[in-house]
């Protein structure tokens, strides 16, 4: 559950870069059907569904459930070190990223407000009391050992302070959990 140390981080980055290159090279030469075959061989027809709850800053795992189902294609697994936002990753035992899913921050403390008639615009309003649940689905593979969640922290000063949707700093790991085998 704890954040990693810098040596481990650097090893992880290098491994992650190599793995991403390999996957990206393989995928770029494949037809969609061939890419699908590769994904199936990675175990994308078996999944683990993780349900989390959040209340304010706190995020915790509520349940994990294995399911026979196909998982959406992974987002790119490289180059996220300095990105802001929210995402989940499936990690191998050696901390290599096997699968990543970018998410619209599901722990937001504001909300979209929709217009009543066409022509009016969508807007946002703070909704500080928001709490609830969200779900992450990752492939169930032999190599997948852990899942991490990464999230940018909100600003601490200025007019955008406290609003998660307006966070400007790179995301940090906020939760790491072992998958039940």
């Amino acid at each position: 559950m704890a954040a990693s140390k810098s040596a481990r981080k650097s090893r992880r980055k290098s491994k992650s870069r190599k793995a991403a290159k390999k996957t990206s090279r393989a995928k770029s030469r494949k037809t969609p059907a061939q890419a699908k075959a590769i994904e199936t061989s990675l175990g994308l027809n078996k999944a683990v569904r993780l349900t989390f709850s959040y209340d304010g800053d706190n995020v915790k795992l509520v349940s994990q459930q294995r399911t026979e189902m196909t998982v959406p294609a992974s987002d790119t697994v490289k180059g996220y070190g300095k990105y802001k936002g929210f995402w989940a990753e499936l990690k191998s035992g050696s901390d290599k990223t096997l699968y990543r899913t970018v998410m619209h921050n599901p722990t937001k403390n504001d909300a979209e407000v929709f217009p009543e008639s066409p022509g009016e615009v969508i807007s946002r309003q703070p909704a500080p009391k928001r709490k609830g649940v969200f779900v992450v689905v990752v492939p169930d593979t032999d190599k997948g050992e852990e899942v991490i969640l990464c999230r940018s922290a909100p600003e601490t000063k200025g007019p955008t302070r406290g609003i998660r949707a307006l966070a400007s700093e790179p995301a940090e790991e906020i939760l790491r959990l072992k998958l039940k085998k």
Binding site: H104, A111, V113, E116, P118, I122, S123
Partner: protein, 288 residues
């Protein structure tokens, strides 16, 4: 007390086994048992609308759609007076209410309960929608895309699905509104992780570089006054992919791929970059 009951599940769009397809689930809220025929009609209409939207129209073979019939004791949704509502407090299965967090059109139910039902009825679900039997306009995003029966509210659900299922960012360039925004002049330099917005205006390295034609200027639009939203019309033809300044709740310093998109305004098509993301995510669900 349950305030209703789960009646059952019907696959209203069937393209293959649920283990191999992308499974969308529409659940009813605030429909009495004598109103379930109306829900069947509403769910069918929603499915037809979703499958007519690009790129889902080309991905039909990848998608199953399920209808989960849940009755409520009473019809509608809570409409608190503190938001100038009627004060109605119907007893419904998921407790949907307008005026969440004091916001009139923010319609939210007990999403944990919705997901428990969906999980049991369709274990392979990917995206959950809650159709609320109210004529008042409203909806919300998050793990469950919630929408009412007001005309056009289905658009809310499709926009929210862009966030929940595909990780797409909002492409509008303001927060509470162009006239009322404070502190939304300039986006930070940090690159957002979402695939449809960027701070990188370098043609050779920006996220959707492969879709930008050589003749398209980059940036394609620039906001001359970052204190406000950019008022200029698009200088290029509809559908041109480039770098248009203003997105992610900021007036300047961040770019969107097209002048307009469903992630910017309701009742618009998804832009080409958003469509590409959706197609990529759903490719594993296409029949081999």
């Amino acid at each position: 007390m349950a305030n209703g009951q789960i009646v059952g599940t019907t696959r209203i769009v069937e393209t293959g086994p649920p283990e191999q397809r992308w499974n969308a689930v529409i659940v009813s809220e605030g429909y009495r048992s004598d109103e379930m025929a109306q829900f069947a009609t509403d769910a069918k209409q929603f499915a037809d609308t979703l499958l007519s939207v690009a790129p889902f129209d080309r991905l039909r073979a990848a998608i199953n759609i399920y209808r989960v019939d849940v009755t409520s004791t009473e019809s509608g949704a809570k409409d608190p007076k503190k938001c100038n509502g009627t004060g109605a407090k119907p007893r419904t299965f998921f407790g949907a209410s307008f005026c969440s967090n004091g916001i009139r059109r923010l319609l939210i139910a007990n999403n944990g309960r919705v997901l428990d039902v969906v999980k049991k009825q369709v274990p392979q679900w990917h995206m959950a929608f809650l159709a609320v039997n109210s004529p008042i306009s409203g909806g919300s995003g998050g793990p469950v895309a919630t929408f009412s029966r007001a005309p056009g509210a289905v658009e809310i659900a499709i926009h929210e699905m862009g966030h929940t299922a595909f990780g797409l960012a909002d492409e509008y360039e303001y927060y509470s509104g162009c006239a009322s925004d404070k502190g939304h002049d300039k986006h930070s330099k940090t690159e957002p992780v979402q695939p449809n917005i960027t701070t990188n205006k370098n043609r050779a390295t920006t996220k959707w570089r492969s879709l930008i034609q050589p003749a398209t200027p980059v940036p394609t639009t620039s906001n001359a006054n970052c204190a406000n939203c950019d008022p200029q019309p698009s200088p290029v033809a509809v559908g041109t992919i480039g770098l248009f300044e203003g997105a992610d709740y900021f007036h300047c310093g961040v770019y969107r791929p097209e002048f307009d998109c469903r992630m910017r305004n309701l009742n618009r098509p998804f832009c080409a970059v958003c469509q590409q993301v959706i197609v990529k995510k759903l490719t594993p669900f296409l029949p081999g």
